[in-house]
């Protein structure tokens, strides 16, 4: 009886194998969408370059599309993510940008969990009463806020009001320590610099709060719904009969079971958050993958960077799959009746 830890390993391996066709599909789609119409792009890409550069460019662009794709795939498998038109490699840029975004997303997720889930419990506990309505107004206003509006309001009004910075990762452009992880708070902590850690945290608060506020609704709503489902059940009554206080009945016995649904939804949301940070990163000048994606597709008047765009899409795809995988694993951890299959 019971589950074997090896079940979990088999489950993870299986899911990772399933990732391969997903990735291939994503690469095919983005590659061909970006390369379908490449007539006369070389002059646009290299406005001030000499004839030799233009010639080389046209030679590569005019190759059969399948050849180009094959070449890209071979390079990718060798760990070469390509470069933009100026020759700047994609990989180091992504390696620096992705952790910054992850930091932002984790901070937002943290806020969603520690604020959104208890709010859902409170809403269920007082369902139909004023506390429930208040919570609903709160998360619906978050949900109804367009990201750009929320981000701009926070950056322009809330930031100065609360004395919080609303741009970049640190107050200074250059920091006096090596950024090992490219996560601002963790780098500052690794360097052992308290002022920089505080500074990094202050910079993180606003963008993370905006991201959390806008996406909080899903956590609160799911928690409330599944709590309402769990609360009338017999085992909650048994817990109450044991003499546990209402707090432990709610948070230890009921929420533990209600979290199963919330976790699944949060996993899916987390994947979406990662790709949804583009606007927030743009507004808060956060040097994350969202900003990189924005410039790669030619945003802000920059020259399109196809290799970068494809890389970003691959990363987003992996992130969504990974977030779902983690949600599935947690699902099994939270509910002992579930087998990892």
């Amino acid at each position: 009886m019971g589950r074997n830890p090896s079940d979990l390993i088999v489950f993870i391996v299986k899911r990772l194998v399933q990732l391969i066709p997903v990735l291939f599909g994503v690469i095919v789609l983005t590659f061909f969408f970006t390369h379908l119409d490449l007539t006369n792009v070389c002059n646009e890409w290299y406005p001030h370059a000499g004839a030799a550069t233009i010639h080389n460019c046209e030679a590569s662009v005019n190759q059969p599309l399948l050849n180009q794709f094959w070449q890209y795939l071979i390079n990718l498998l060798h760990g070469n993510w390509g470069a933009d038109v100026y020759g700047a490699a994609v990989y180091p840029a992504i390696a620096a940008a992705l952790p910054a975004t992850l930091e932002l997303v984790f901070a937002a997720l943290f806020l969603m969990i520690v604020i959104g889930i208890p709010l859902g419990v409170i809403a269920a506990q007082y369902s139909g009463r004023w506390a429930d309505h208040l919570v609903r107004v709160f998360y619906l206003s978050g949900w109804a806020t367009p990201t750009y509006l929320g981000a701009v309001i926070a950056a322009v009004f809330l930031g100065p009001l609360l004395g919080l910075p609303s741009g970049g990762e640190y107050s200074t452009k250059v920091v006096p320590f090596v950024q090992y992880t490219h996560m601002s708070v963790i780098d500052a902590m690794l360097a052992g610099s308290l002022p920089y850690t505080v500074d990094a945290l202050e910079h993180l608060i606003l963008p993370a709060t905006v991201l959390a506020f806008i996406n909080m609704g899903i956590a609160t709503r799911m928690t409330r719904a599944s709590m309402l489902e769990v609360l009338p059940l017999d085992y909650v009554r048994s817990a109450r009969m044991k003499g546990l206080s209402e707090f432990w009945v709610l948070y230890k016995h009921a929420l533990r079971n209600a979290l199963i649904t919330t976790t699944t939804v949060l996993g899916i949301t987390a994947g979406g958050l990662l790709s949804g940070t583009v606007v927030v990163e743009e507004v808060f000048l956060w040097p994350g993958i969202g900003q990189y994606a924005y410039t790669s597709i030619g945003g802000g008047g920059s020259v399109p960077n196809f290799a970068g765009a494809i890389a970003v899409v691959i990363i987003f795809a992996v992130a969504v799959v990974a977030a779902n995988l983690i949600a599935d694993i947690l699902y099994g951890v939270l509910d002992p009746r579930v087998d990892w299959r």
Partner: protein, 384 residues
């Protein structure tokens, strides 16, 4: 006569659903004494489960409202106790075993964690770590021994007021202390191989096993009142017999007052000392089990006993009672049994018969005299 541990006085409970209100329990009084079992028997919907859940205030309020009466437990009226104080009452005062063992254990926690939680609650109260029940009109006197301070309890072993036996235990400190204690209770409810069961999840256990664990959990808090709400009804017959045997053995071992709710006359006959027969929210007959079952003085009890299949009466069709349980929102005036009663007279439609002793002059309150709520109770023995 000793004081009752639990004294239910004229308790009435109403459910309000939409505009309608349903009197689920009307004017019920009963007393529970240590070491005695009071059975409540009645058809589905007669209010016996509502009564059981109302005592530890487990009914969701609303829709239920306690319309009147008192539930006096250790000198305090539980009807008036605040919601904040209820956990303290439930924790160590009143234990309950539920009807649905399949759903009554939390699916997310192992058996050990769930039983240990109950033990921990009782233990912390014993040790004075957690506030015990204070309030009501009379201060709640838990266990009648001098309360230890936290400081003194750290150095001194203590003797629990043993429901299980006079085992001297030290303070429970580590997980293995709790493990030993949990094992003890699992053995008490006759679980074979408790070491294995301990680490299983509820979904890995059978219904009978889960009910045993529920019983262990209830007993581990050493309650002075145990309410068993149809503890065997959801189990199949062989398991039912096992759990019933266990209950009977435990009734002799633990000297708690027990309220045993069942729709099964045989189960009540085997376990209870006294029985109350409920009909449409009222106790219509009350008395020692042997007397009520052998010499019923209420036409409803008589009909109920006739309808019960017994192994000696296997020939012929089963007899069914005429009519059906009245709708609680449209109760008949006067005696609630009058539309189905063979002895019905005009008086029965006008007045509600009081619960009168069968032998005139016997004291009904106190709970040991045979009493029946029928104007014509002396004619009942002549019924077929």
């Amino acid at each position: 006569m000793t004081e009752p541990v639990l004294d239910v006085q004229h308790l009435s409970i109403t459910y309000t659903v939409g505009a309608g209100s349903f009197p689920a329990v009307t004017d019920v009084s009963l007393q529970l004494y240590p070491g005695r079992v009071v059975g409540i028997v009645g058809e589905t919907g007669c209010g016996k489960s509502t009564l059981a859940k109302a005592i530890p205030r487990l009914l969701p309020e609303p829709p239920a409202t306690i319309g009147g009466g008192k539930v006096v437990f250790r000198g305090t009226d539980l009807v008036k106790v605040s919601k904040r104080q209820l956990p303290m009452v439930r924790g160590t005062g009143i234990g309950m075993i539920f009807q649905e063992p399949l759903n009554s254990l939390n699916p997310a926690y192992r058996v050990f964690d769930q039983v240990a939680e109950s033990i921990r609650i009782r233990h912390y109260r014993d040790m004075g770590y957690v506030k015990t029940f204070q309030g009501g009109e009379v201060p709640f006197d838990y266990s009648k021994r001098p309360t230890e301070t936290v400081a003194s309890s750290l150095t001194k072993p203590f003797v629990p007021d043993g429901a299980v036996g006079e085992i001297v235990r030290d303070r429970l400190r580590t997980r293995s202390d709790f493990r030993k204690e949990v094992l003890e209770y699992l053995r008490l409810v006759r679980i074979n191989d408790p070491e294995t069961i301990l680490d299983l999840f509820p979904h890995e256990l059978s219904g009978g096993m889960r009910q045993r664990i529920m019983i262990a959990m209830a007993l581990s808090e050493k309650p002075s009142v145990l309410i068993a709400d149809e503890p065997t009804s959801a189990l199949d017959v062989t398991i039912q017999a096992q759990v019933l045997t266990l209950m009977k053995e435990l009734i002799d071992e633990v000297q708690t007052a027990i309220l045993f709710i069942s729709h099964d006359l045989g189960v009540i006959a085997e376990t209870a000392d006294e029985v109350g027969v409920m009909y449409a929210g009222q106790i219509v007959e009350y008395g020692p089990v042997a007397e009520v079952f052998h010499n019923p003085r209420h036409p409803y009890t008589k009909a109920l006993l006739r309808a019960a299949p017994t192994r000696y009466k296997s020939e012929g069709p089963l007899s069914a009672m005429a009519g059906s349980v009245p709708n609680l929102s449209r109760l008949p005036s006067g005696c609630r049994f009058n539309p189905r009663c063979p002895l019905v007279q005009p008086l029965c439609r006008e007045k509600m018969p009081p619960l009168d002793p069968v032998v005139p002059g016997e004291v009904v309150v106190g709970g040991r005299a045979h009493a029946s709520a029928c104007f014509f109770q002396s004619e009942v023995p002549n019924l077929p």
